[in-house]
Subunit: 451 residues, 2 copies
C-alpha cells in the first residue's frame, strides 16, 4: 500500500528542534512510510551558516539558500523552524506559491500574521499546521480545532511557558529570589541568554492569542492580549501565597464573557489554590485546562519545549500534511466566523489579593474597606497582622468594619482578597489605597484564579 | 461560504448520549454550519420503542425502523449510539453500503469487530470515527492517531472506567467497603443496575484493546487483554496501600516490550504512588498517561462518561466526518502495519505487593525470602509486623535474611514488595508461599505501577 515516489520535505532551520526532526525522520523512516502510505524524504535542509555539525544530516542536503530550496518545485511539505518574523514569513508564502504545504512551530509569526498566512494556504489549497507553536509536545491545537469542533469552549487556562514555570517552581520549592532562580534556569538551559521573551510574558502572550483565536473562532491579535511578566514577583509574594494555600503561576487565560458576546485574552502571574491541578505542574512542564459547555473540564499536560518533544508535534503535523497530499484532503482552515470583539483588560472580571502596609491604629481597616466599597469592589476576606505579630485575624465579608480591636501606633499589615470585580475597578482601588495617609505602601497585588 | 444543501445525519439511539447529541445539534446549529461549511440536519432518530419523551427531538423524526433510516440513500453520516454488538454492527455495515460515514461510541463493537468495520469503511471510501468509545469527552484517540503519528508510543497507562474509579475513590476517602461504595455509585447513577461490565473490567478491557491497537499500529483483540476487576478489593487493601503511600486504581495498561518486538494489554487493579498524577484522579473522572519516545510523558484528563461529555466527543467526530464529505478528504484509516505479537500476561514484567499472614517464629522470613529467590524474583522491600504491633521493620533488598529479631509464636504479617519480574513468576511465587506450613494465608496480592 506504500507508493514508491517519496514525498519530499524541506526543512528550514536545523537547531535544537530541526536537528531532532531530521533525526526522527531517519530513525522512523519505515514507520512514517507505513503511516502515511508513501516514503518521506528529507530533500534539503536550509541553515543560516554552513560548517557547523548538524547531527546525522547528510551534508549534501544542507544549503544556506532557503528560498531556492522552497521554490525548487518538487517540495511537498516545508517545515519552518527558523522562528521570528522574517525571513520565515516570506519563505512560508513562497512555499504556498510553489504548491507546498507548511508545518511550523513559529508562534510569533502565527500570533502576528496568522490570518494572512491562513489565507495564503487557502488560496493555494495547501495546508498550514502549527501544533508545535503552543505547548510543545502536548496535543492541544488539534483537540481544540477538531475534537471540540462540536462544542462551545468557554475558557482556556494554562501554563504555556516552561521557563517561567521553572523559575516560579524553584522560587517556591527553595525560597530562592527571582534572580537566583533565573540564574539556575539559565545554567540548566531552560532560559535563554536574553530571557525577555519568556520572563516578560511575550512568548505566553503569542500562545494566548493563538489559543483564543482557535477556541473562540475569532481573530485575536497579539496586541489584544494583556501581558504582564514575572520579573517583579518576590520570594515574599510566593511565601504569602503559600500561606494562603495558593501557588503563583504565570497563566495564559482566554475567556468568553458570561453573556457570550465578547472574549478576552491575558497573560499574568496569578495565585491559584494548591488543590488546583495546575498548582502541581512542576519544573518546565506545561499544562492547559479547557472548559467547554458539553465536555466539561479537560486538562492536557506534557513537555512544552525541548528538541525532541517539539519535534514530536512537528512530525505529527508532517504526517497529517503528507496524508492530505496523498488523499487530496485538506486540514482544518482558519475558523474566525464568530468575529467576537476582544474586550480590554479593564473589563475582565478578576479577583485581587492585595497586601498593604498600614499604620497600626484604630479606623484604618474601616478607611481601607471604604475605598473598596467606593469602587464597587466587594471584599471576600481580610487578614490583619500587627507588626511583629505572627498571627492575625480573618474576617469574612461584611465584618471588616469592626476593627475596634486594632493595636495603636507602629505598623500593621492588611491582606485583602476581593470578590470578582472589573479589573479596572480593582486597579483604581489599589491606586486610591496607595494615596491614603494611613497606607505606607502596597506590598503586593496579585490576581487570584482557578477557584 | 456555507453551502445551502444540508448534510443529513441519522441518529441511532436516543438515550443519555443520543438525546444530548440531538440537543446540541439544535442548540449549536449555526456554529456547526459555520465550522463545517454547510448546515447539518437531523434527518431521523431511530429508537427501540416509540412513545417515550425524547427531549427536544421532533416526534416526526423518530422511528423504530433503524434499517430503513440508514439505507434510505440520502444520509451523509450515521451516528450509532445503540451500543452492543447487534443490531449495531449490521446497521453500521448497512450505513457504509449506503455510502454514509459512521460516528460511533461503541467500544464493545470496536474492540471485537474493529478491523472488519474499518475494512468496510475503507472499501466504501467512508469514514469511521470513534473518539467517544474511549474516555468519553477526553480527546484521546485523535491525539494518539494523529498528533503522535510521527512518534513512537511506548506505554499507555490510564483510568478509563469512571464507575470503578468512583467506587475506589469512595472506599479510599470514606473507608467504605466495596459493597457500600457500589451501592452509593448505583444510587448516584454512576453504576448500572447490573454493574458487571464495569466492576469486572470488561468495559476497561475493550478500551484497552482499542488504545493498544492505535498506539502500537497492531491489531489487539479483546481476548488479548488480560482482565481483572475490582470486586475483591477490600477496605483493608486500600488502607494498606495508603500506609505504603499508594492509592489503588483500576488501570488499563498497554505496553511495548523493552526489545520493541511485542506488546501487551491488561486491565487490573494496581497500587500507584500518591505522588503520581493518576492517584489524584477523583470521583468518576478519567485520565490517561501516554509515554512516547520523543514527546515524553503526556497526560489527558476529563470526564469519561455522561450524556453531554460523550456527546461532545461524538459531535467533534461528526464535524470531522461532515468536513470530509464536503472536501472529499478521508480521516485516518486503520493502521495495523506493525503486526506485533501480543504477549500473554505471564510474560509482562510487573511488581507485586504481597501481604502474608505468617507464624511468628524465627526463620519464617528467611523461608519466604527463599521462595522468592527460587522463582527468580528479587525483593525490593519487606515489612514485618508482629501480631498486635503497630510498628514493624523494613528491610531493603538483601537484608531480608537477617530475621533473628523476629518474635516467637503467635501470628505476624509480612508485607513484601518485589522488583520487576515476569508476572507468571510472581504468580507462581505466591502459590508456592501459600503452600508453606508457616504461611497461614495470603491476605492480598496487588501489582504496583507508575513508579
Amino acid at each position: 500500500m506504500v507508493r514508491t515516489r517519496p514525498l519530499k520535505v524541506a526543512l528550514l532551520g536545523c537547531g535544537v528542534v530541526g536537528s531532532q526532526v531530521a533525526r526522527l525522520m531517519t530513525a522512523h523512516a519505515g514507520d512514517l512510510a507505513a503511516r502515511i502510505g508513501a516514503p518521506v524524504e528529507l530533500a534539503g535542509v536550509a541553515v543560516r551558516r554552513l560548517g557547523r555539525a548538524r547531527g546525522d544530516v547528510d551534508p549534501a542536503l544542507v544549503t544556506t539558500d532557503a528560498e531556492s530550496l522552497v521554490t525548487r518545485g518538487d517540495i511537498d511539505v516545508v517545515v519552518e523552524l527558523i522562528g521570528g518574523i522574517e525571513p520565515a514569513r516570506s519563505l512560508i508564502n513562497a512555499a504556498f506559491e510553489s504548491g507546498a504545504s507548511v508545518v511550523t512551530a513559529n508562534k510569533a509569526l502565527l500570533a502576528g500574521d496568522g490570518p494572512a498566512l491562513q489565507a495564503a494556504a487557502e488560496k493555494h489549497a495547501a495546508d498550514l499546521y502549527f501544533e508545535a507553536s503552543v505547548a510543545g509536545a502536548i496535543p492541544l491545537l488539534r483537540p481544540l480545532r477538531e475534537s471540540l469542533a462540536g462544542d462551545k469552549v468557554d475558557r482556556v487556562l494554562g501554563i504555556v511557558n516552561g521557563t517561567t514555570n521553572f523559575i516560579l517552581d524553584r522560587m517556591e520549592s527553595s525560597g530562592a529570589s527571582y534572580g537566583e532562580a533565573l540564574d539556575e534556569a539559565t545554567a540548566l538551559g531552560y532560559a535563554e541568554a536574553d530571557p525577555t521573551a519568556d520572563v516578560e510574558g511575550f512568548d505566553a502572550a503569542a500562545k494566548a492569542a493563538i489559543l483564543a483565536g482557535i477556541a473562540f473562532h475569532t481573530r485575536v491579535r497579539l496586541d489584544d492580549v494583556h501581558r504582564e511578566g514575572i520579573t517583579e514577583i518576590t520570594a515574599a509574594d510566593i511565601a504569602g501565597a503559600r500561606q494562603m494555600g495558593h501557588a503563583v503561576k504565570l497563566l495564559a487565560i482566554c475567556e468568553r464573557a458570561e453573556d457570550g458576546r465578547s472574549v478576552t485574552a491575558r497573560v499574568h502571574p496569578a495565585m491559584i489554590p494548591l488543590s488546583h491541578p495546575l498548582a502541581s505542574v512542576r519544573e518546565a512542564y506545561n499544562a492547559v485546562f479547557v472548559e467547554a459547555e458539553a465536555a466539561g473540564r479537560l486538562m492536557f499536560y506534557g513537555q512544552g519545549a525541548g528538541g525532541a518533544p517539539t519535534a514530536s508535534a512537528v512530525l505529527g503535523d508532517l504526517v497529517a500534511a503528507c496524508r492530505n497530499r496523498l488523499t487530496g484532503g485538506l486540514g482544518p482552515r482558519e475558523s474566525a466566523y464568530a468575529q467576537l470583539p476582544v474586550s480590554p483588560m479593564g473589563e475582565v472580571t478578576t479577583r485581587y489579593h492585595v497586601s498593604l502596609d498600614v499604620v497600626d491604629k484604630p479606623g484604618v481597616l474601616a478607611q481601607c474597606a471604604a475605598v473598596f466599597a467606593d469602587h464597587g469592589v466587594s471584599i471576600d476576606t481580610v487578614r490583619q497582622t500587627g507588626k511583629g505579630n505572627k498571627g492575625g485575624k480573618v474576617g469574612k465579608g461584611g465584618n471588616v468594619g469592626n476593627d475596634g480591636q486594632e493595636g495603636r501606633g507602629g505598623e500593621a499589615k492588611l491582606v485583602v482578597v476581593t470578590h470578582r470585580a472589573p479589573d479596572a475597578a480593582l486597579g483604581a482601588t489599589v491606586e486610591a489605597l496607595r494615596s491614603l495617609d494611613t497606607v505606607h505602601g502596597v506590598a503586593s497585588t496579585m490576581r487570584v484564579e482557578g477557584e
